[in-house]
């Protein structure tokens, strides 16, 4: 790894997979490399700002939500505090029931964040395992998993999740039950793994032919060892980047699902549901629309930027190319 910069700049032909695998294989190089990657990430200004905003949002939603003086269920029985524009007392204003909008947005953000994190980790795990299996075993295992991916893709994801989780909505008579956010998160996770699986499958297909995997196999490494010690560590950069971006996709998917009425149901809530409930207020009481909207965008945008910063840190050569 000492001299390739010029060759890369001038000849730019070897794939990043190859280069990275060759280097991560050696433990000391890997350690040195991870320091370099972290340093590169820290230098990525937009990603650092995003990370800061994301963490701040998280703390604001959970700690701020717990400490905030108004309850999301607060109702002004006198009927006087309805549709108040944002003030110092109600920074995000109040809604039709005179409930404090900020308390509701904070609670919606809590749900959206938790669902997004659950979905991202679930879909990434499923995608990585199935993708690695398909790529490693090839043959009928690959055909089976690939056809399964094809099948999942023929039904629009939000409909698939909506249909699957229909049982959890509760009927008009039974609403007021325990809430269904975890069921929505579960089914979203079970649906959104296909893109990760395709990527990991492709990488595994090429990595399994590499010399260091052959060597490990020749030394008697079992399937588990080959896959988890030799192949997957070399896809770690892709996994991490994809997981970060999956957070952003999960927030948007959950919001869309809740928005059309097939997602989170009361007594749970989410930013998407809040917007659904307030979509007609955009002209008359715009704060009810704009605050949840800004929070969704912030979560999803910062997750995307963090993912992008990580990608650049892992593979800076994407920036150096022939014109």
């Amino acid at each position: 790894m000492t001299n390739p910069t010029v060759e890369v700049a001038a000849e730019a032909s070897t794939s990043s997979v190859q280069e990275l695998s060759a280097s991560t294989f050696d433990a000391t190089t890997a350690r040195r490399q991870s320091v370099v990657i972290i340093r590169r990430f820290l230098r990525h200004r937009l990603a650092m700002i995003s990370l800061f905003v994301f963490v701040a949002l998280f703390l604001f939603a959970f700690i701020g939500g717990a400490l905030w003086k108004y309850s999301y269920a607060f109702e002004d029985v006198s009927g006087g505090g309805r549709y108040l524009a944002p003030t110092a007392d109600h920074p995000f204003g109040t809604d039709a029931l005179a409930a404090d909008s900020m308390a509701q947005v904070l609670r919606g953000t809590q749900f959206s964040l938790v669902i997004a994190l659950v979905v991202a980790s679930l879909s990434t795990s499923i995608g990585v395992v199935l993708g690695a299996l398909a790529g490693f075993f090839r043959g009928w295992v690959d055909s089976l998993i690939s056809r399964f991916i094809d099948l999942v893709l023929v039904i629009p994801a939000i409909v698939l999740v909506g249909v699957l989780s229909r049982n959890s909505f509760g009927s008009s008579a039974t609403s007021g039950g325990g809430g269904n956010w975890y069921i929505i998160a579960l089914f979203l996770g079970l649906t959104l793994w296909t893109s990760v699986a395709r990527v990991i499958r492709g990488m595994t297909l090429s990595l399994r032919e590499k010399e260091f995997v052959e060597a490990a196999r020749a030394l008697g490494g079992g399937v588990g060892r080959l896959v988890f010690r030799h192949i997957l560590p070399n896809t770690l950069d892709v996994i991490i980047v994809n997981a970060t971006i999956a957070v952003s996709q999960a927030v948007l998917a959950e919001a869309a699902l809740s928005f059309i009425g097939l997602g989170v149901h009361p007594p749970n809530t989410s930013l998407g549901l809040l917007i659904n409930q307030n979509q007609l207020e955009i002209s008359l009481h715009p704060w009810l629309f704009w605050f949840p909207f800004v929070f969704i965008i912030l979560i999803s945008l910062t997750a995307n930027f963090i993912g992008d910063g990580l990608r650049d840190a892992f593979d800076p050569r994407q920036k150096r190319v022939r014109a």
Binding site: P4, V6, A9, A10
Partner: protein, 418 residues
């Protein structure tokens, strides 16, 4: 640092003319001397990266006459490919090129794309290393050849196609009319490289740059391709720059050779001279690290260490860390490319004169420690069978052997065509 080759130019005992003597207005074919098809003077190429500038090529100068064959030899990262890309103007925008490249007296550095375009393919053409990737997978071979021809000739598609078939036939592709209608993936590696060679000669260029044309091929195919190149060179009367790390390729084909290391030329001269009497330890090391017929049963002598990073070059000679002859002077200042005792043979080494007295240069790299050889003449062979340099490279012998190999190859293994 920049003055070194200029001073050597001034000595007059070389075949290259001083670039200043060229008429600056001389443009186009025929106006300048036959011995000066391509004049590269003080060429440097740097790549700006996030971590600093990579000095890929530093102060390279050479002259190539018509019909001459020049070999450029070096490890990967020595700057040999980058210099050829600089001649073609194919470097990325991140590259900064300084110095001068004159083709028929016409300056190529800084030439606008439109002007450079007219030269590419027709004046200077290029053969790339990997035939698997150097043809466009979505067009037929004949289409790609015709396109190259039509880029420089105003002819009908039909005429260009006929010309393509002719070119394919010239490089020894059987059934060229049928093969022209096929896609690159239907060709074997060797056939594809033949097609790339056909593309490079279709416009009858005066200079062909071959960038490691055989490296990506099977050994048996390598010999065939090399033979084709030599034949084509003779038939088209083109000058050739042969870039390679394979000294065997150079030995059988070129007139002059220049050895590159750390982005610059460290030794240059007529091929027989350089191989028989190297005046730079790196060249000696290169010669010692390849197998050859005279060394059957002997161990190869590798050069210890790795080539330098072009990002942080040492102050002195870039070969110092690996050089058995290195002294303090080598660490402090980079030597100039100076005349040696032989005619038209230059080397970039402070201690080249010490190599005159050396009995067996191979012994240099047999040492356990580097930089420890104070007096090379005192080295004696521990193994009396160890060949001295004259045995190692007998060019005639090697060429004869290579020709025999090719003959045998030709008779026994005609490449399969489909």
């Amino acid at each position: 640092m920049t003055a070194r080759h200029r001073s050597s130019n001034g000595d007059g005992a070389i075949d290259t003319l001083n670039p200043d003597e060229l008429g600056s207005g001389a443009v186009g074919r025929g106006t300048s001397d036959d011995s000066e098809l391509l004049v590269v003077d003080d060429l440097s190429v740097g790549f700006g990266t996030e971590d600093g500038t990579v000095h890929a090529v530093r102060n390279v100068s050479f002259t190539l006459g018509t019909r001459q064959v020049l070999g450029i030899v070096g490890e990967s990262g020595s700057g040999k490919s980058v210099s050829s890309m600089a001649i073609m103007g194919l470097l990325p925008k991140t590259a900064t090129v300084t110095g001068s490249i004159k083709f028929h007296g016409r300056e190529l550095v800084g030439l606008p794309y439109g002007e450079l375009r007219k030269l590419r393919g027709s004046g200077i053409s290029m053969i790339f290393q990997d035939p698997m990737t150097s043809m466009n997978p979505v067009f037929t071979v004949g289409w790609q050849l015709s396109e190259a021809y039509r880029a420089h000739h105003n002819v009908s598609k039909r005429a260009a196609w006929a010309k393509s078939v002719e070119a394919l036939e010239m490089v020894g592709i059987p059934q060229p009319d049928r093969r022209a209608a096929q896609y690159p993936h239907e060709f074997s590696g060797g056939m594809r490289q033949r097609a790339v060679i056909a593309m490079s000669i279709i416009n009858d260029p005066e200079l062909i740059i071959a960038d490691e044309p055989t490296t990506a091929l099977d050994v048996t195919v390598q010999a065939q391709i090399l033979e084709t190149l030599i034949r084509i060179k003779d038939e088209t009367n083109a000058a050739v720059i042969m870039i390679t790390h394979d000294l065997g390729v150079v030995a059988g084909m070129v007139d002059r050779v220049q050895v590159m290391y750390g982005g610059t030329v460290v030794e240059s001269g007529v091929v027989e001279e350089v191989f028989a009497a190297p005046r730079m330890p790196y060249t000696i090391g290169l010669l010692g690290s390849i197998p050859n017929p005279a060394m059957v049963g002997k161990r190869l002598t590798p050069i210890k260490g790795a080539p330098p990073s072009l990002m942080n070059l040492p102050n002195g000679c870039p070969f110092t860390p690996r050089c058995p002859l290195a002294i303090d002077e080598c660490r402090e200042s980079e030597p100039a490319l100076t005349e040696t005792d032989r005619r038209d043979h230059r080397a970039r080494c402070h201690r080249w004169s010490d190599l005159l007295t050396i009995e067996s240069p191979q012994l240099l790299f047999d040492q356990q420690e580097i930089g420890m050889v104070e007096n090379p003449a005192a080295l004696t062979a521990a193994d009396p069978d160890l060949p001295i340099m004259e045995d190692v490279i007998s060019v005639e012998q090697r060429m004869a052997a290579a020709a025999e190999d090719r003959e045998a190859e030709h008779n026994s293994s005609e490449e399969t065509t489909s």
